[in-house]
């Protein structure tokens, strides 16, 4: 869905970007925070650098901290110097970009601050051609959503999509709730001021090139989709591994744990993209309809706790350095029972995936940072060469590396040259960097641009969020009520032994990514 009314610009045809959004005002609530400085402004600058923002695009920061336009620009320049993808910052581009950068100081609940804000936005419409188009980015903790949404509503700064007025959209960041009840409440607050079509929920994983390439791999190639089902696939593994610990996020992590932080959102997004049916169209709702069907088909975890394992890192060694246990981290309870690792065996009870296990694992302080999906195919149906072969054939594996070293590899067996029938696994390897070079855009660049263009394909919809929580809640409840805590694993290993038992009990093994 896009909301540009004017005819497309014919001079854009054939250029790198055939369409750029119409100029709008992007209001960042919480503009003095870490997310703005580390991700949002650098991403916006990089878009400007690549010529993807229209002349007149305007950004205004809104927060309590004392800044004026000039000091805000200075702070944002420093942030871009540190964090922008395209470095060093290009002075010629920055000068023009910074002319569209403003700041309004105010409290999130203060009506007069919103009156000032509204006045400035109207001025931009006249001076910068922003035409009443508004994007509100809530880079704030969820407790501020309600006062912000209410004040925006009170000041008539939100136009319904049916009003015929220029668009208003809101972008919100995870966490989208702590459980189903809080997610429902959060959505209730948000949709009180905005309709669902105006809400863009960011899961930055969906902005990654390789995640988007999942759909290309499946639906732009004739080769894979015919095999993408229970008839040919034995099981699928998902790994989201981080080598870092909780760092300064101890307070947050104590409230969330890895299941809420990674599995409920990023991991289930990956699962649904891999498992979904081909959508009827390549548009936001058609794709999200298919994703949510996968989530609805997830077999209940209630009563099947044997399908889940949790762990917590103890002291250990990463990259040759001693690292402390989770319980020794800053702002972490020394008796904490919060999980820093989780592994689950999922089943998707539908026609395509019946009884195919999806093994997912996510953890902190694992040996390396890697996100990978591996599709493990069934062995050949008849061991034709069995009597001749000195070693058994290995199953084919299609490995999709999300980060780092983004790429796709297919493992298959080949005959080792010589008189005997010996086989060895070989790999056909595709790497983005090798084939295409250059650095892919940051996830936030893509997502901000899509929100400006009004395309919600890469954003999570309300029912996805709520269905994911409804599925995960019973497990979280069971863990919180359990007498036993997570199993310890040494930092620098691939998680607790129970995770190995989870998959090895099925006669399979975790792939070493």
């Amino acid at each position: 869905m896009t909301t540009t009314d004017a005819a497309p610009n014919p001079l854009r045809e054939g250029l790198e970007r055939e369409r750029v959004p119409d100029p709008s005002v992007l209001v960042i609530f919480g503009a003095s925070g870490d997310l703005t400085q580390r991700k949002l402004l650098p991403a916006l600058y990089s878009l400007a650098h690549d010529g993807l923002l229209p002349p007149g695009q305007t950004i205004i920061g809104f927060a309590r901290q004392e800044y004026n336009d000039e000091s805000f620009r200075k702070a944002m320049r420093e942030a871009c110097d540190k964090h922008a993808r395209t470095k060093p910052v290009d002075d010629a581009i920055w000068d023009v970009f910074a002319r569209g950068l403003f700041y309004e100081q105010g409290d999130f609940g203060d009506a007069s601050a919103y009156q000032r804000l509204r006045k400035r936005l109207e001025e931009f419409d006249a001076t910068r051609g922003t035409g009443g188009r508004r994007l509100y980015y809530l880079a704030v903790p969820p407790q501020f959503f309600e006062p912000i949404a209410d004040r925006l509503g009170d000041e008539k700064m939100v136009h319904s999509p049916d009003s015929g007025e220029p668009y208003t959209r809101v972008i919100i960041e995870k966490p989208f709730g702590h459980d189903l009840a809080t997610a429902l409440e959060l959505n209730r607050v948000v949709v009180r001021a905005f309709s669902e079509a105006q809400v863009f929920r960011i899961d930055h994983y969906l902005g990654k090139e390789t995640v988007q390439n999942l759909m290309t791999l499946r639906f732009a190639n004739g080769l894979f989709e015919p095999f993408w089902n229970r008839q040919y696939i034995d099981h699928i593994q998902f790994t989201v591994a981080e080598s870092i610990g909780v760092e300064k996020r101890g307070n947050y992590f104590e409230q969330s744990g890895i299941a809420r932080d990674i599995i409920q959102n990023h991991m289930l997004q990956l699962v649904s993209l891999v498992a979904m049916e081909p959508p009827a169209a390549f548009d936001a709702n058609a794709i999200r309809d298919e994703k949510v069907k996968v989530l609805r088909a997830l077999r209940e975890l209630r009563g099947h706790e044997e399908n889940a394992v949790r762990g917590q890192y103890a002291a250990g060694s990463i990259s040759g350095e001693e690292v402390p246990a989770y319980r020794q981290e800053e702002n972490v309870d020394p008796q904490s029972r919060v999980e820093t690792f989780a592994a689950l065996r999922l089943f998707i009870d539908n026609w395509r995936w019946a009884d195919v296990p999806f093994y997912v694992r996510a953890g902190k302080r694992l040996p390396k940072r890697v996100t990978e999906i591996s599709i493990h195919f069934r062995p050949a149906p008849f061991a034709l060469l069995k009597t001749l072969m000195r070693n058994p054939p290995t199953p084919n594996v299609l490995a999709i590396r999300i980060q780092p070293d983004e790429g796709i590899a297919l493992k298959f067996d080949a005959k080792v040259p010589g008189p005997e029938m010996r086989t060895a696994p070989v790999t056909m390897d595709f790497r983005y960097e090798t084939s295409f070079g250059g650095e892919p855009p940051e996830a936030y660049e893509r997502l901000l641009l899509e929100a400006m263009e009004g395309d919600a394909t890469l954003f999570a919809r309300r029912d996805e969020i709520e269905t994911a929580w409804a599925w995960l809640d019973p497990l979280l409840e069971s863990w919180s009520q359990s007498g036993s805590g997570p199993e310890m694993y040494a930092a620098g290993t691939w998680g607790p032994e129970a995770a190995d038992r989870l998959i090895e009990g099925d006669g399979r093994r975790w792939r070493r990514p």
Binding site: N9, L11, L15, P55
Partner: protein, 336 residues
């Protein structure tokens, strides 16, 4: 970048030698990764063109992995070939390598070149022929044969000496399955981007149909080649707007590139795109709002390797160029 092997071989041995080359991992050397997105044939008719191709193609393969085949016409009757691998490091662990095959052919052996090149192309990969120097005449059979397998013909219209070359290029695009790709068109990309950006805001977009005239100031010696960039720009604008415009191409300073564009509307108002040489950018300025809004586009490299790489990074043929070429040819014909 290193050339890790050289071996004078006959054509039948080339593939075997290449296979051996890839197996030859030197002890302690970073792992080799072979990659190719294109077959690129650089056709040089003179020694200085051959030298240029040898300088440029390794740099192109750094950014666009490819099998490179350099064809160098020589005096005499020899037909030789040799191979090498162009490698560059990616991080500390891996080298990415692309293959380079050179064919040296005496003019009397021209007829053998196209079949030999055809046998050496990587299967199922697109083929680009970079024709250095003048475009061949229509009656040169070997040139037509070279283009039989070509998906793309890369030329540089800044080297053209008359409108005849534009006509010939247009004829190739119309009568064969080979798409034309002009390095001069790549040079124009920042100008086109800045012009397009000017008209992105809805208030400016509405004025597109009110453009009446374009005045371009371009440097150089006044030769046809020096004007080709301006002609292509005007051709592009007229083709995309589907309208005739008053065109004025004025001669600027010594430097051989476009310096400024003034776009004049029916009501007498103007928009402009100017080159800021000091900052190496082009800046577009429009006046649709109360506050004039600039758009700035960084000028990218003008070196040949960079231009060819940018051309090859576009996987699809450029239909917009074909339209612009058609309009530019007509315009050049009218201007005499």
């Amino acid at each position: 970048m290193t050339s890790i092997a050289d071996a004078r071989v006959d054509p039948a041995k080339i593939e075997r030698e290449l296979a051996a080359l890839w197996r030859s991992e030197h002890e302690g050397a970073p792992r080799l990764t072979r990659a190719a997105l294109w077959n690129v044939v650089a056709y040089a008719q003179h020694p200085h063109e051959h030298q240029l191709a040898e300088q440029v193609m390794p740099d192109v393969s750094v950014t666009v992995p490819q099998r490179t085949i350099i064809v160098a016409e020589q005096e005499g009757e020899t037909l030789d070939s040799w191979i090498s691998a162009n490698c560059h490091l990616v991080g500390a662990e891996r080298q990415i390598c692309s293959e380079e095959i050179t064919i040296s052919a005496g003019k009397s052996r021209r007829g053998h070149i196209a079949p030999l090149v055809a046998s050496l192309l990587l299967p199922n990969m697109p083929v680009a022929v970079w024709w250095l120097g003048d475009l061949p005449d229509e009656n040169e059979k070997h040139a037509d044969e070279m283009l039989d397998d070509a998906d793309r013909l890369i030329v540089d219209s800044s080297q053209f000496d008359s409108v005849t070359d534009l006509v010939r290029l247009r004829k190739i695009t119309k009568s064969t399955r080979t798409a034309a790709a002009d390095l001069n068109w790549v040079r124009l990309e920042e100008w086109r981007t800045a012009t397009a950006a000017l008209f992105d805001p809805p208030a400016m977009r509405e004025r597109l149909q009110n453009i009446r005239a374009v005045r371009i100031t371009a440097g150089g010696d006044g030769s046809f080649g020096a004007q080709a960039e301006s002609l292509l720009y005007c051709g592009w604008l007229m083709a995309q707007l589907k309208s005739e415009l008053e065109i004025d191409i004025a001669r600027g300073d010594e430097e051989r590139h476009m310096q400024s564009i003034e776009i004049r509307f029916e009501d007498g108002s103007t928009a402009a795109v100017n080159r800021d040489s000091g900052r190496n950018v082009v800046v577009g300025t429009g006046d649709a709002n109360a506050e004039p809004l600039d758009c700035v586009v960084r000028l990218q490299t003008r070196e040949l390797a960079g231009l060819i790489a940018r051309q090859l990074r576009k996987p699809e043929n450029d239909r917009v160029y074909e339209k612009a070429l058609h309009a530019a040819t007509e315009l050049a014909g009218r201007r005499g």
